[in-house]
């Protein structure tokens, strides 16, 4: 029986050891003369059980195995080829009970339609899955106005975070009168805790390129740039290969599909600056300057790259375009809510069972995303909060889990949809610490142009640090709020305008925790080290000296078989004793 074996070889898979599994498969089928085709694919989505291997037969029987090792793969292949597939570690399958069959079926995949299915560096795989058919339809049968109307009618909004209607943006760029126009793809996915764009670029680069070419045709651009962060080497590699292939087949270059439409596409690697995700800063960076935002207007649609009209969209936005052109605006608008159409890709991470990449229709309540699609909490500890939108977003508590996923509903809570990072936290996370973490990030990444963003975030960080050390005052909370509102009002770009969100939302929903830090000088989650105290529980201590040996500052006294004691003045609160003790004899509080 002949069959196909696919291995997920995106960044996460490789980090989990998928490369070794791939080698083991090649070796095994060669040594045993098994008639199977081995294919590479990218992100299958269930990162929590990487490495993932899918096996499917000519009769369309498909089984995806998780947690595969070079040792286990031989048996899996042999059993499948004998028609008696192994039933352990089955993640998704159409013939067997897979642990994630249910959660997977709740998803609707438009952006990720090819991710984890095709070989991302094979243009033929993409073509077999309706690739470049949308471009052909657009160039041969549609005018610029037709395309822009179609995108407008689909209700697609910018997936980079702010949610501006894409069709309208294209209209502005189309209306601008100029011989030269540019189209830019923002792939500078800088939000910590977000990896949607990386997965799409690694897993289906042609879908983004096709979306860009259609956009260029619609607005009248003949040159484009993909600005990708340099931290994503595999994404850049796949993009380079895809651009070369598209040029070879004539989808890039001159006279595309025999028309007079010409289009040239370049990749620009970022150099590590979060602010470059902001469109004016991004364009400055492409021009080879410091990535500092500039005042708008003029908007990029009037004067963008090198002063020419420019249209900028995010990776996920572009990945939607070909699907919309091919299937029609009406079909797309069937997904989602009244004002937020389509689907949204989320990167689930943190203390959630099924961390990985998912795509759900807009309008799904957060509860369903986390518990039904995400499988619920990973640890025994209860849910505490979910962080949406990275450093520009906010933390929402359990009471708000009925909020539905759409731009307007999430904005009402004080968080933002953002690009799609969703980090789930249990009671082991301290909200003051989380606010401090994000402020530290935006403080570092502020370009320094606007005083309120540059100095204001620094002052806020100092206050938060003080609170986390038990030196805060109740007035500090008012100061934090006042500073937040001023920074929002007085910053030029999105970075400053949203930087206080993590502080404002935690103050709003987890205020008690701030008060406990200030008044009781304790950290309920046990995270803020300055407020921690490690003590020996005398009745549990057997005097084994393991903790004393582990202590890096030698502050634990006690002979063998005697109860130990920690010198509180000398203790640096590293927690080494707590981790080392096998008798639960160290109390952390």
């Amino acid at each position: 029986m002949s069959f196909v074996i696919k291995v997920g070889l995106a960044s996460c898979g490789l980090a989990a050891g998928a490369g070794e599994v791939y080698e083991a498969i090649l070796k095994h089928i060669k040594e045993n003369g098994i008639d199977a085709e081995v294919k590479k694919t990218a992100c299958i989505g269930m990162c929590f059980v990487e490495p993932l291997v899918e096996i499917f037969s000519e009769e369309q029987k498909s089984i995806t195995y998780g947690d595969v090792t070079p040792e286990s793969i031989g048996n899996i292949i042999d059993a499948f080829s004998k028609g008696k597939p192994i039933e352990e570690n089955v993640i998704i399958s159409n013939v067997l009970e897979g642990s994630e069959n249910k959660t997977y079926n709740k998803q609707e995949r438009i952006v990720l339609r090819n991710c984890g299915i095709i070989d991302p560096v094979s243009i033929n795989d993409y073509l077999e899955n309706d690739g470049y058919k949308a471009l052909e339809k657009a160039v041969k049968k549609m005018s610029s106005e037709d395309i822009i109307d179609e995108i407008k009618n689909s209700g697609l909004r910018g997936r980079g975070g702010a949610g501006f209607p894409t069709g309208l943006k294209w209209q502005f760029a189309f209306n601008a009168k100029s011989e030269k126009k540019y189209i830019v793809c923002n792939a500078d996915e800088g939000d910590p805790g977000a990896f949607m764009d990386r997965s799409v670029l690694e897993g289906d680069p042609h879908s983004v390129i096709e979306g860009m070419i259609i956009g260029a045709y619609a607005i009248g651009a003949d040159e484009g740039y993909i600005y990708c962060r340099a931290e994503y080497p595999l994404a850049i590699k796949h993009l380079n290969i895809a651009i070369e292939q598209a040029a070879e087949k004539g989808y890039l270059g001159n006279n595309i599909f025999g028309s007079d439409f010409n289009f040239e596409l370049h990749i620009k690697e970022g150099a590590g600056a979060f602010v470059c995700g902001e469109e004016t800063a991004l364009m400055a960076s492409i021009e080879g300057k410091r990535g500092m935002p500039t005042i708008r207007p003029p908007f990029p649609a009037q004067s963008g790259l090198w002063g020419k009209p420019t249209n900028i969209n995010n990776v996920e936005t572009f990945a939607n375009i070909a699907w919309i052109i091919l299937n029609g605006a009406k079909e797309y608008a069937k997904h989602g809510t009244e004002k937020s159409k389509g689907t949204k890709v989320f990167a689930l991470a943190g203390k959630i069972k099924n961390s990985g990449l998912i795509e759900v229709p807009m309008g799904m309540p957060l509860k369903e995303v986390i518990y039904d699609v995400g499988g619920g909490m990973k640890t025994e500890r209860p849910f505490k909060g979910v962080q949406l939108g990275g450093p520009s977003g906010g933390c929402l508590p359990a009471e708000l889990l009925d909020t539905i996923v759409d731009y307007d509903s999430i904005n009402k809570t004080g968080a933002i949809m953002g690009s799609g990072g969703m980090v789930v936290m249990d009671t082991s996370s301290c909200m003051v610490d989380i606010a401090k973490f994000f402020l530290n990030f935006t403080q570092n990444e502020s370009c320094g142009k606007c005083t309120f963003c540059r100095v204001g975030t620094k002052r806020m960080l100092e206050i938060l640090t003080r609170i986390s050390e038990g030196k805060g005052k109740m007035e500090d909370l008012d100061t934090l709020e006042e500073l937040s509102h001023n920074i929002i009002k007085s910053s030029l770009c999105g970075l400053g305008q949203t930087a206080p969100n993590p502080v404002l939302t935690t103050l709003k929903y987890f205020r008690d925790e701030y008060i406990t830090h200030i008044k009781d000088k304790t950290c309920p989650a046990g995270v803020c080290t300055a407020l921690l105290k490690y003590e020996v529980i005398e009745e549990n201590c057997i005097g084994c000296t393991v903790c004393a040996m582990k202590c890096p500052v030698n502050c634990i006294a006690g002979e063998r078989k005697q109860v130990h004691k920690i010198d509180q003045d000398a203790c640096i609160k590293c927690g080494a004793c707590y981790d080392a003790c096998k008798f639960n004899a160290i109390k952390k509080g």
Binding site: P192, R198, A230, F274, G288, L348, G350, S355, V423, M425
Partner: protein, 152 residues
């Protein structure tokens, strides 16, 4: 400058094209390991781009390094998912193992440079570090020693 010929080739590849300063600096940094004052002056001289502009760009982006760096680069991820999975203890352990205080980032023997990065995008494997181009996930402080040994 140790590799003048290679640097000349790199510069010539970019010269007189628009908006090339960042990739040009990335290229020459890859050759020399870091951007020394001499190197930046040389690029300025060759391309006609003002030294102040080059220095401005080099100091703006975190990828550019103005000091020599170790043979192996360790990137410790401090993204949100890693942070809530105790990336701090991973950072401390890396520094401990390499005998680095918080202020220095390169070991005395020039073998390792340790950096904090905002997010490597492997959030489901948190906490994560990257040594050169290899990513290691689901770490505990106890697993650090074994990883570093591979590069000694």
């Amino acid at each position: 400058m140790k590799f003048k010929t290679e640097i000349d080739i790199a510069i010539n590849k970019f010269i007189s094209k628009k908006g090339v300063l960042i990739p040009l600096l990335q290229n020459v940094q890859n050759i020399e390991g870091y951007l020394s004052k001499d190197l930046m002056s040389y690029v300025s001289e060759k391309t006609g781009i003002k030294l102040a502009h080059i220095y401005g760009v080099a100091t703006f982006y975190t990828m550019f390094r103005l000091k020599p760096q170790g043979k192996h680069i360790i990137r410790v991820c401090k993204g949100t998912a890693c942070h809530v999975s105790d990336a701090n203890s991973i950072m401390n352990e890396v520094n401990n193992q390499l005998d680095l205080s918080g202020e220095e980032d390169t070991t005395k023997d020039g073998k390792f440079t340790v950096m904090q990065v905002a997010c490597l995008g492997c959030c489901s494997l948190a906490p994560v570090i990257m040594v050169n181009d290899n990513t290691y996930g689901k770490l505990t402080p106890a697993s650090i020693g074994k990883i570093l040994k591979k590069y000694e």
